[in-house]
């Protein structure tokens, strides 16, 4: 009898231990972004976005995998200086080899993605981005979670040309950096289907170190008299300075970028100058409440935690990118990079919690269908400086119609890596 009791006690202890294991199991998520310096204006809100995504689950008892086990999520930020390839790799070494991270959100910067591709794949760490940048069949653990950088630039500029038939001249303003180079090529790809009526009047890259002297950058752009300026590479503060300088130079056309930190703009410019002229399209902007109740809640949580003045669209971009990983964890038997990847790619589509059924694509550009194409909301600023939803691009349909023209530009811009 005593033996039976001890066996029962042992079994109970084992069961308790396994339950405790299931509850205490922690999923380690790394966010490799600039955590210091000027580029932290991007990196800090992105890291916060992932932290709030994790907090949402942790406060509800953890995220459940397909086996029904709940897991807490631990998020750690790692510094990559300002998206430099070598620092990205150092950060990945820390995250993977020292801290045992299983999932990483990183930049779309092609050089940075290439730098870490072998390490992430060798260690089966599922590495995603708020876009694609670089993907390859040789590195299946590199994925793109959502329609974001740099593909969104292509869809955004095309959307604006379609919606505004008066646009005849476009200026492309990008930094002389790996991510700027990618943006330039994708902006050109978005304009490519309209070359019969739209001309690129400016596309020289600028040195980010010279962004303090905004007149030297803005002067030649104003001289080219564009109807639309598409931008990528200015930090949020520099963006506002750029718009203000263009206003002083008499520019009265449209502005578009991946996103705008409205606090900076409204501090410097009158609402009537911003009204209907500042466009963005970058995964999703949670400050616009109608697109999805869940991102609206995320916005409220962000503002409650950090204050409205700290809001940045980049937080919601990171949050949205993590929802694809979230779907993968919930479909996988266990929350490892390998199991989650297998679950995500079991079908040709993924039911993303924010965007719904979305298709894996990317083979024509990258040689691998590892980029999840989610619908792309386009936003515009109103007279009060609020971001409002202007339209939603069906990116799959756009690509089917314009792939040939776009691919020619992407190839010329060195962005096509498919063999």
């Amino acid at each position: 009898m005593q033996r039976k009791i001890s066996i029962l006690a042992g079994a109970a202890a084992l069961a308790a231990a396994s339950v405790s294991f299931a509850q205490d199991s922690v999923i380690k998520v790394g966010v490799v972004q600039p955590q210091s310096g000027e580029c932290a204006q991007w990196g800090v809100p992105i890291t916060r976005g992932v932290e709030l995504w994790a907090k949402e689950f942790n406060e509800a008892g953890g995220i459940k995998d397909a086996s029904g086990n709940s897991h807490q999520i631990e998020v750690t930020g790692y510094d990559n200086a300002c998206y430099t390839a070598g620092e990205e790799l150092t950060a990945f070494r820390r995250a993977i080899l020292d801290d045992g991270v299983e999932f990483i959100l990183q930049t779309f910067t092609p050089a940075s993605r290439k730098a870490i591709a072998p390490l992430a794949t060798e260690n089966k760490v599922l590495t995603t981005s708020y876009g694609a940048g670089y993907l390859s069949a040789d590195y299946p653990y590199l994925i793109g979670s959502v329609t974001g950088s740099p593909a969104s630039y292509m869809y955004l500029v095309s959307y604006l040309i379609e919606e505004n038939p008066d646009i005849e001249k476009v200026a492309i303003v990008t930094a002389d950096h790996s991510f700027g180079e990618a943006a330039r090529a994708f902006y050109k790809a978005g304009i490519a289907p309209y070359t019969d009526r739209v001309e690129i009047v400016f596309s020289d890259p600028y040195d980010p170190a010279m962004a303090g002297d905004m007149f030297s950058i803005a002067g030649p752009i104003a001289s080219s008299e564009p109807d639309l300026i598409v931008e990528l590479g200015f930090t949020p503060g520099q963006q506002a300075s750029f718009v203000e300088t263009m206003q002083q130079l008499g520019y009265s056309g449209l502005f578009a970028s991946e996103g705008w930190t409205m606090n900076f703009l409204t501090d410097r410019l009158k609402a009537d100058y911003l009204d209907g002229r500042i466009y963005s399209a970058y995964v999703v902007d949670a400050s616009e409440q109608s697109f999805s109740p869940r991102v609206a809640q995320f916005y409220d949580a962000y503002v409650e935690t950090y204050g409205q003045a700290e809001w940045s669209v980049f937080a919601s971009v990171a949050y949205a990118a993590m929802t694809t990983i979230e779907a993968g964890i919930q479909m996988a038997e266990e929350p490892t990079g390998e199991a989650v990847r297998a679950a995500l790619f079991a079908e040709e589509t993924v039911d993303n919690p924010l965007f719904g059924e979305s298709r894996w694509a990317g083979s024509e550009i990258y040689g691998a269908d590892t980029h999840l194409l989610t619908p792309l909301p386009v936003y515009v600023t109103d007279a009060e400086g609020n971001v409002t939803l202007d339209g939603i691009v069906d990116v799959g349909a756009w690509w089917q119609e314009n792939a040939q023209a776009a691919l020619t530009e992407l190839e010329a811009g060195g962005q096509v890596t498919a063999q």
Binding site: A81, A111, A115
Partner: protein
């Protein structure tokens, strides 16, 4: 040793030699007991150690160049371009070619920049370094532009992904270059260069050719930087312009200020100290530039000869105590 005895104080030469061996032994022990991450960090540390000892060779002629990291980039790009199709030269061979390319570029740069002195030299080398970085960006067909060149391989005799083997290679190169710089420093030419660094006018009046000596020091130091650049891009598997930024240059200069440059062990001490600080603050990277800046300021104000000055002071006080005892 006879040569050392004739040309320099045997004690300091031995101390430098011991430093090189201690670094190799210390790194080897840490790598043997440490994690994969630590092994990787030691590879980067050892490459940076090559960089600081080569930089110290330049400082002996009396000028602090700000082009060293860009010249390191020349070596890195040489390895990337030459080891990839259509050249396909074995990676191990390209390391030497990278060093030579860096030496060649620095020889070309030497003509204009070595005509300047003090802060003009600092400014002209800074400008030269930025010009080189712009070349990495603008000559896209060759360099891959801002995205650089990716998927550079390890040398054939190092197994891909084997960090320990790569570390052994870096330490071997560190030993050879360390020995070379040590012997050069202790040679008659090395002593003349140091004399020029101390007083150029006096050296000239004694029949020395300061420009030639300074150029030699600049070129030989740059060769080491080029080799370090080649090792770095092979280990990282990628070369991109942003990796040869003024921030890394500041780290090298800071290592030399904090550690001192009179002897070979000074910059290595400085680099070790800064690396430990960097690792200690990795959870709060935003504080690292602040701490480094503070350390450089503190070293400039309170320890003018850096940590090596502190070591010398300690040694002197120990000797005095022994004598009194």
């Amino acid at each position: 040793m006879q040569l050392f005895a004739k040309l320099d104080s045997p004690r300091t030469v031995v101390l430098d030699l011991v430093t090189v061996l201690v670094v190799i032994a210390g790194v080897s022990v840490l790598a043997a007991v440490g994690s994969s991450y630590l092994q990787g960090a030691l590879v980067i540390f050892s490459i940076n150690a090559i960089l600081v000892i080569s930089y110290r060779t330049i400082t002996t002629m009396g000028g602090w160049s700000f082009a060293h990291v860009a010249i390191m980039g020349v070596g890195g790009y040489a390895v990337a371009v030459l080891s990839k199709p259509p050249m396909d030269i074995p990676v191990a061979v390209t390391f030497a070619l990278g060093g030579l390319a860096a030496g060649l570029v620095s020889a070309l740069l030497a003509y204009p920049v070595l005509r300047t002195r003090q802060y003009y030299f600092f400014l002209s080398t800074f400008a030269a370094g930025e010009a080189l970085r712009q070349c990495f960006i603008q000559f896209r067909q060759l360099t891959g532009g801002t995205s650089g060149i990716a998927f550079i391989e390890y040398p054939a005799f190092v197994q891909t992904g084997d960090t320990l083997q790569f570390l052994a290679l870096v330490l071997a190169v560190f030993f050879l270059l360390g020995l070379f710089y040590l012997m050069f420093d202790a040679s008659e030419t090395g002593m003349k260069i140091r004399a020029v660094g101390l007083d150029e006018t006096l050296s000239q009046s004694l029949g020395m050719n300061p420009w030639r000596l300074r150029a030699l020091s600049f070129v030989l130091g740059s060769v080491g930087a080029g080799v370090a650049g080649g090792l770095l891009v092979s280990y990282n598997g990628i070369v991109a312009p942003a990796d040869f930024s003024p921030e890394l240059m500041f780290k090298i200069v800071a290592a030399c200020i904090v550690g001192g440059t009179r002897r070979l062990y000074g910059p290595i001490l400085g680099l070790t100290f800064l690396t430990i600080v960097e690792e200690a603050f990795r959870g709060v990277p935003e504080y690292v530039p602040f701490v480094w800046g503070g350390l450089v300021l503190a070293a400039t104000l309170y320890v003018p000869n850096g940590l090596e000055g502190l070591v010398d002071r300690l040694r002197t006080s120990l000797v005095r105590r022994r004598r009194h005892a």
